[in-house]
């Protein structure tokens, strides 16, 4: 069993194709469901953003799963699988998990360090989980993936510095004013970047947003769009007294904001700083204002410069993010390997044997009255009880080893007997995620145990309801599986 991914992204497919493969929530669930097949794909998640459409599967046979996914995508795109294939990529096993981690870390994104992808993956996973398309492996894998996304962003500065002119401008404003809740922004002119910046400022909680333009109608139109209020252009100086952040993007051929105007306004501002962002070409704001105390001016060149440097910085941080991906990969790998039947049986026997011998040792004093033969009898008796108890689980596990859902049994056994409690497998997960991992780890296991039991009953009755056996009920396994701290 291994994780397989098939997908298209901005790196491999043109926008036109990505558009045709874009899946909304319902369609994503439909695709995931269509992928699930007896003997083939056991769990599936479909991820679709404007830059990528990817199908994640937990499958027995990688190439069969790959083929099924490709056909499904081709059908949606309305092309033949053969012609779609060159635009897709595919990874299996560790490679697929690495890919998923790199995606969530935004290392595979168009803009490195963007944050939306984490929410998008969370949504894709939630959709699949609620639709009953995930189980033990994907519940844990995706939960872990979201942790990786979080870790990359808290431990590296990959998404810290803005890489667009408008958000760089807002960031600088925050450097001056701290929180923007108490500030007023003034937008002069109706340029596109100005509007974008206004939207950013709104999102960061700026208290009041004034919009002004030579033609009042244009100002009113934009004010409506960005949630501000239009004010008359004639009273610019009055607005300079009220505003803390001024974004200017008029098409005027000369300076709109002169030094004299700012100087006069500044005296009425009682010492509050004034921050100008001039994104117009030719410039709107007289550069000479920059030497006034408490007045800061950035023009489009300055901002572009900031953006370029921030981009370079993100590239550097990306190296550290890659290291985190590699580190996390090892954790998941160990856990996935533990889902194999044979080592689990061995671990189970060891664990129970340990209990038996330790109990005997505990009783050592009371058994001292026995002679050697009697003691051997006790040894024999306890061993045979243990073997009897373990016989059926062992046989059953070996029995299902060839089946798709065997890993559900394995997970159930590992959980019920606490085989991952000390030292191996998931206990090796890193410190922070440890608590959440344990808490979450216990419950999906229980759900899996239920479903495993259900599956056995079904098999005994001769009608293996595989789909039901494979997936825990959304309420039970699902909620427990997503242990977001």
């Amino acid at each position: 069993m291994l994780v397989v991914v098939v997908g298209v992204s901005h790196a491999t497919a043109a926008l036109e194709l990505r558009e045709r493969l874009a899946l909304d929530g319902g369609a994503a669930l439909g695709v995931a469901r269509a992928l699930l097949a007896p003997g083939g794909v056991c769990e599936a998640v479909a991820l679709s953003t404007c830059n990528r459409t990817e199908l994640y599967m937990y499958a027995r046979d990688a190439s069969a799963a790959r083929q099924a996914a490709l056909e499904l995508l081709a059908e949606r795109a309305g092309v033949s699988p053969a012609s779609l294939a060159p635009s897709t990529y595919s990874h299996a096993g560790e490679g697929a998990i690495e890919h998923l981690f790199r995606v969530v870390a935004s290392l595979d994104s168009m803009v490195i360090g963007e944050y939306q992808i984490v929410a998008q993956i969370r949504e894709a996973y939630e959709t699949a989980r609620e639709g009953g398309c995930t189980s033990v492996v994907f519940n844990r894998l995706f939960r872990h993936t979201l942790e990786v996304g979080k870790r990359v962003r808290t431990e590296t500065a990959i998404g810290e510095k803005p890489v667009s002119v408008s958000s760089a401008a807002v960031d600088l404003a925050e450097q001056v004013f701290g929180h923007l809740e108490d500030t007023t922004a003034l937008i002069v002119g109706a340029g596109e970047t100005g509007e974008l910046t206004a939207t950013h400022l709104r999102a960061r909680g700026v208290r009041d947003l004034l919009v002004t333009n030579r033609t009042l109608a244009a100002a009113q139109e934009m004010a409506r769009r960005v949630g501000g209020r239009a004010v008359p252009f004639e009273d610019l100086e009055g607005h300079l007294v009220a505003a803390d952040i001024v974004i200017s993007s008029t098409s005027a051929p000369h300076c709109v904001v002169t030094r004299e105007r700012v100087h006069r306004a500044r005296r009425r501002r009682r010492g509050r700083p004034l921050f100008f962002i001039d994104i117009a070409v030719p410039r709107d704001v007289d550069p000479a204002i920059a030497d006034l105390d408490g007045v800061f001016l950035y023009d489009i060149d300055d901002l572009e410069h900031v953006v370029a440097r921030n981009r370079a910085e993100r590239e550097k941080e990306a190296v550290r993010a890659e290291a985190i991906v590699v580190e996390e990969l090892a954790n998941v790998d160990a856990w996935l390997r533990a889902l194999e039947v044979v080592p689990t049986i061995a671990t189970l026997r060891e664990a129970v044997e340990r209990i038996r011998t330790s109990e005997l040792e505990r009783l050592g004093g009371r058994l001292s009255g026995l002679d050697d033969e009697q003691r051997a009898q006790v040894e024999l008796l306890t061993s045979s009880i243990v073997n009897k108890i373990l016989h059926l689980p062992t046989v059953t596990m070996k029995d299902v080893a060839g089946r798709d859902e065997c890993y559900l049994y394995v997970d159930a056994v590992r959980t019920l007997f606490g085989l991952d409690g000390n030292g191996d497998g998931r206990a090796g997960a890193r410190g922070e995620a440890h608590g959440a991992g344990e808490a979450g780890g216990a419950r999906p296991g229980t759900a899996a145990a239920e479903t495993a039991a259900g599956s056995e009953a079904g098999a005994a009755g001769g009608t293996a309801e595989e789909a039901g056996a494979r997936r825990p009920a959304p309420g039970a396994g699902g909620d427990a599986g997503l242990a977001v701290p």
Binding site: G178, R270, G271
Partner: protein, 275 residues
């Protein structure tokens, strides 16, 4: 007891050093938890220093303000205390990187001028002296902090003006935060400074100290007091940019440091109690 006190002071110094290292690591790695750990370690250092001061007070049988060793250790304790209050209870964050070196420097200087605990000279055995000293030290902690914040303010203002938006800028508190810190620390410190000066004057008059008004320390204190009043006045009246307030706070800091490191050991007439 004195030995334990000194060891405790050393532990405090080491903990401040460790906190400083954590703050540097936080600065470089941007891992928020590093700052938190630094704050916890700094808090431990602050407690250790408090223990050192209490034990010193117990062995010397007076509040530990006599001589450079005791007074500098106490100043450090107030400085770190004000920083911790800000860090834990306000939005002013990440100042530890700048406060810790100052704390270490002060403790180092304190140690270099260590003196064995001595009994209180009769001149200082009075309630009003105790009051005078305590409020003065509170004022000093707050006003030093205002000065450091002002230095950062000017640095950041300059970076913003020159469009040096590199890595340093993003790691400083916002300009508005520093401006508020300068103002609030001053606002907090000035009433204590005033009280301390009044208490000192009452003491001097009551005991008929000759020429106390012309004592360099008294004159310098009056100068600092005037500077801080000007700062507060400018802020309340409005119309002053943050830059002017910052320069005043720095001027105040220079005077305060001159009092501590020049006037007390070298110039003062009657404030010199063991350097």
């Amino acid at each position: 007891m004195e030995q334990v006190s000194v060891i405790s002071l050393w532990i405090a110094l080491l903990l401040f050093g460790a906190a400083f290292a954590l703050f540097i690591f936080h600065y470089l790695s941007r891992r928020e938890q590093m700052n938190l750990r630094g704050v916890v370690v700094a808090l431990a250092g602050w407690i250790a220093l408090g223990v050192a001061l209490i034990l010193r007070a117990a062995s010397a049988k007076h509040i530990p303000v006599v001589g450079a060793y005791e007074s500098l250790a106490l100043i450090t304790w107030f400085l770190v205390g004000v920083y911790l209050v800000l860090e834990l209870f306000t939005q002013v964050k990440a100042l530890g990187l700048y406060v810790m070196p100052a704390a270490m420097l002060f403790l180092g200087v304190a140690w270099s001028s260590y003196s064995a605990p001595a009994g209180l000279m009769p001149d200082l055995q009075s309630d009003i002296v105790v009051l005078h000293v305590i409020v003065m030290f509170t004022a000093v902690g707050a006003l030093y902090l205002a000065g450091f914040a002002a230095l950062l303010y000017l640095l950041e203002e300059r970076l913003l003006k020159r469009h040096r938006t590199g890595s340093v800028l993003g790691r400083l508190p916002s300009l508005a935060t520093l401006d508020r810190l300068v103002y609030h620390a001053t606002l907090f410190g000035v009433p204590f400074l005033t009280m301390g000066m009044v208490a000192g004057a009452i003491r001097a008059i009551a005991f008929g100290v000759e020429g106390w008004l012309y004592d360099p320390m008294v004159l310098l204190s009056l100068g600092a007091w005037a500077i801080y009043l000007a700062l507060l006045y400018g802020h309340l009246r409005g119309g002053w940019g943050g830059r002017r307030a910052a320069w005043l706070a720095i001027a105040g800091l220079v005077v305060m440091l001159a009092i501590r490191f020049a006037a007390v050991p070298y110039w003062s007439g009657f404030h010199t109690y063991g350097g």
